[in-house]
Symmetry: C2
Amino acid sequence: MASQSDHKAAIIDGKAIAQTIRNEIAEEVRHLWQKYGKVPGLAVVIVGTRKDSQSYVSMKRKACAEVGIKSVDIDLPENVSQDDLVAKVHELNATSDVHGILVQLPLPNHINEEKVLSEISIEKDVDGFHPLNVGKLAMKGREPLFLPCTPKARHSSYGCLELLSRSGISIKGKKAVVVGRSNIVGLPVSLLLLKADATVTVVHSRTPDPESFIREADIIIAAAGQAMMIKGSWIKPGAAVIDVGTNAIDDPSRKSGYRLVGDVDFQEACKVAGWVTPVPGGVGPMTVAMLLKNTLDGAKHAIAQ
Amino acid sequence: MASQSDHKAAIIDGKAIAQTIRNEIAEEVRHLWQKYGKVPGLAVVIVGTRKDSQSYVSMKRKACAEVGIKSVDIDLPENVSQDDLVAKVHELNATSDVHGILVQLPLPNHINEEKVLSEISIEKDVDGFHPLNVGKLAMKGREPLFLPCTPKARHSSYGCLELLSRSGISIKGKKAVVVGRSNIVGLPVSLLLLKADATVTVVHSRTPDPESFIREADIIIAAAGQAMMIKGSWIKPGAAVIDVGTNAIDDPSRKSGYRLVGDVDFQEACKVAGWVTPVPGGVGPMTVAMLLKNTLDGAKHAIAQ
């Protein structure tokens, strides 16, 4: 048997898995085209010229093109009125070859985001405009027991589970520890794991001795937002480690002056864990893949009807 | 030091705690009357003559009377039309001395419960018509990540936490284990505990070795629906045990032929635990007390405006 220092965890290559999913989607899109003469359509709406939004949007549009999903590009000026934006959403709702509508957030201050999102028809709400969100909108001013997750969080929560299953890691009956209880990732992932029959513990900033829980875990989901807080010695040998954290730390050796690290000490984890996701290149790439998958699913539903 | 066989857990007397809460509510109602000349009003609507519904409703109305909440009794015949019931709800929405509206479920088959409940104005929705429920209604046909909890479950989930705090048991930083992952109790209680800063583990029917988790718990919430599944030997000495289970088991010595027991072996638990709730007389009595408290809170909000 190899000594611990020789051990090398299997690196879960999120980029490669996301690519596999995209290839599968492309295959299904071709199949739809052959059978029905139709392809999925995703309307990606952007208002204004924020650099970060433009970069996200162009990434999503490019991803659509790669798998054969028709991207319907709606670029509106910063000063578009809320009424005009809503009218555009209604028009897209009524367009039969648009199966998904995505409105890039944030919207300019003069526009009520919740109002606009609530106008997207349920069948085309590909960004996962979740029942929770709907509830919250409807009950504004009441504190919900759970806060809704953002579309991105929803995609990445499902992405975590997809990474596990695509790596052949079964969840049922396993001890899973989720580190972090944010409404953004920690809570939705823990509920998905619970639904998948794991025994789930959520540890967080008020847990006196987090490592005592983490050490017992077969599956660790790190979503604390603390750079490299999970040390190699906290990991049970052979455990599966999914690192959702993306933290910028100073790195004078880089031109940018920083680099991105996860919530797990990756180098140490590699020596102990059975599987580990890198940061970047782990959970991140899954987000757009899951968005494409939602669009495909919506289109399959609409086209096959 | 006493030997283990001498140990006696403190019995958390849900009936007494519920009575204390009711007394506090009565005091606040008096205060509202003195200051504003108004008392809270709760409309309790019942349709038809189901024996169980009538018994619940009369219990709630009596509880209102005892604390000085004005109970507005609406008794409608089994064959009332949905339109007439909705019209009644609208009338109650518009009645200023009604601060809460409770429609006893189930309604007859010819009436759409969700439709009727959705007509209750948010401000008067004293039964906790939760954002989650609203979301689910709005998104019918989509599977939500969490199912909504019933009003009763909501009241009893909050009841569990109230029992802990009223017994002087702090939650922050404690290890809590919730046994059962039902949308009805397990999930909402576990999320409330998490919000209260416990480290929470949810074990369930697919957990291979539930006792190994339960043995570590400072706080055990038993909500599995399995008669006396939690043995004394599973309980950490000194732990707080809240038993949400209500299971009928055969008992030939009773006239009824059965008796109610919880998910915990109460006799054994008494010898080990620090605190334990009896069944019946633990969580159960808290349900109506929390309903009254919601009504009071709604009234305070409306009257003090």
